[in-house]
């Protein structure tokens, strides 16, 4: 079902930037998952994730610059500039939280991963993959609704995993330092997944307005 039926005035450049942002977010999430699976051996991946974060900032800046018209009259879009601005920021949040999680693993001197963190990272990869696909659908006017539903379901799964993970930390006799470290990391992973859902909400709003 296509939700994007309004006669478009396409700015293909800005769609390319959104797709680059989506791919960048997906890449950061895949790197984070790989880093977690083989932590601390693959802690070097934190550098690549930081590079994604810097690329994400640059792409977001380019989008905002393009939306503002680059000092000229902005190019017309079939979507509101406010919605596109919000979409750009939400996409950037995914990379920011992924980068923060990677950085925290290193800063906190984590000795080994936890299974729950790997589970959350896997959900994050799936959610960011769906986000990336949804951005492609935005340009091609393809099937968007199914992808948005998938992102919402993944966010629910992330919530469940995060709750169980934090509950496991508060069992009797656990090292308080382990609790402090991992609670922060679980929360950052959950924030990254929530950001994917925020992207889905924004896309949903855009698709409704464009009907």
């Amino acid at each position: 079902m296509s939700l994007l039926r309004r006669s478009p005035v396409l700015d293909t450049g800005i769609f390319a930037l959104f797709e680059a942002s989506g791919s960048n977010a997906q890449r950061a999430c895949v790197l984070l998952r790989d880093m977690l699976q083989d932590f601390p051996e693959r802690s070097d991946l934190a550098r690549d994730i930081l590079k994604c974060e810097q690329d994400g900032d640059r792409i977001t800046h380019d989008i905002i610059h393009r939306l503002s018209g680059n000092g000229h009259r902005p190019e017309p879009h079939r979507f509101g500039a406010g919605d596109l601005y919000s979409l750009a920021k939400r996409l950037d949040d995914i990379v920011d939280y992924a980068e923060q999680a990677a950085d925290t693993l290193v800063i906190y001197g984590i000795e080994a991963p936890m299974e729950q963190a790997e589970g959350l990272a896997e959900v994050l990869v799936q959610a960011s993959t769906a986000v990336n696909a949804a951005l492609g659908a935005l340009r091609s006017e393809g099937e968007l609704q199914g992808l948005l539903v998938e992102i919402h379901q993944l966010e629910n799964e992330g919530d469940r995993l995060s709750r169980d993970a934090i509950a496991a930390l508060f069992a009797n006799g656990i090292d308080p330092m382990v609790v402090i470290r991992w609670k922060d990391i679980f929360e950052l992973l959950e924030e990254a997944i929530d950001s994917c859902e925020s992207v889905a909400h924004t896309l949903e709003g855009i698709s409704l307005e464009s009907r």
């Binding site: 080994a112 299974e115 729950q116 656990i174």
Partner: protein, 283 residues
């Protein structure tokens, strides 16, 4: 500094003493630093009955005085030492590694207990407590010290091609260090001490990290993987750590088959696979 002497009214000069009294020889030499006179009185009555040599202090003695007393254990309440309680604890634990140190104090926070244990205290008891429990804990600390001393005295443990040196917290193969970290060595030592028994992950974590293992924590797997890699690198013809899926790990030295070690001629084992040979006893 007030100084109360009990049981054998005072410690004789160290020059008159035999080597440090060991727990298996009976009485322990114990000092208590505590301003709680009621607690000290009750404890001293018990210790007198047991024939332990016991000295009570209400402030921190100079370290050299503690050294000269050749104590087996020290019970200390850091709160009676004021602001320098933590410093004193750290200095004692660092200067007297053979001394069992037990903190016995009032209510404390988790952070305070963690700090005390990390500074080197062997145990922590919260008041109000029964003197029998305090004594039992001192005995347990002394027992652990005795075991450690016995292991040090028996020299390195040789298993497969590995020489495990407790005094250096390190394993060697053909004289070359496996470059184990402290924690990797502790995991190795625990597995070796189990003498071929399978140890569950939770038990390994509890005994090496000192806390309960959080569900999903992969620390044990990661450290065993690192340990296995380093042992493999140092002694490629042997397999030492065996995985029991879903349970844990077991230590047993086994010579790899020739097919496993391509291009290398495995040395003939000088003892049955898995035998833990101690040069002190096998010589």
């Amino acid at each position: 500094m007030r100084d109360h002497l009990h049981a054998v009214a005072s410690f004789p000069d160290s020059s008159e003493l035999p080597p440090v009294a060991s727990p298996q020889q009976g009485a322990l030499r114990l000092a208590v630093i505590d301003a709680d006179s009621g607690f000290v009185h009750v404890l001293s009555k018990r210790l007198e009955g047991m024939g332990w040599q016991f000295r009570s202090l209400t402030s921190a003695p100079p370290l050299d005085e503690l050294v000269a007393q050749r104590l087996n254990a020290l019970i200390v309440d850091p709160t009676c030492l004021g602001a320098r309680g933590w410093d004193f604890l750290e200095q004692v634990c660092s200067a007297l590694p053979g001394l069992g140190v037990l903190v016995c104090t009032g209510r404390s926070t988790v952070a305070q207990r963690v700090r005390g244990l990390r500074l080197g205290a062997d145990d922590w008891v919260t008041k109000p407590c029964h003197p029998s429990e305090v004594i039992a804990r001192v005995e347990a600390v002394a027992r652990r010290r005795r075991r450690a001393r016995m292991q040090e005295e028996t020299g390195p443990l040789v298993v497969g091609e590995l020489e495990i040196r407790l005094d250096q917290f390190q394993a060697f193969a053909a004289g070359r260090s496996a470059e184990l970290t402290r924690r990797e060595f502790e995991v190795l030592q625990l597995l070796v001490d189990a003498q071929g028994q399978v140890l569950q992950r939770e038990e390994i974590y509890q005994r090496v990290w000192g806390y309960a293992m959080a569900h999903g924590d992969r620390s044990v797997d990661v450290f065993v993987r690192k340990l296995r890699h380093k042992l493999e690198r140092s002694s490629p013809a042997w397999v030492y750590i065996h995985t029991h899926f879903g349970i844990g790990y077991r230590f047993e030295a086994q010579l790899k088959s020739a097919a496993d070690v391509l291009g290398e001629e495995p040395a003939a084992p000088d003892r049955p696979p898995g035998a833990l040979a101690d040069p002190a006893t096998s010589a």
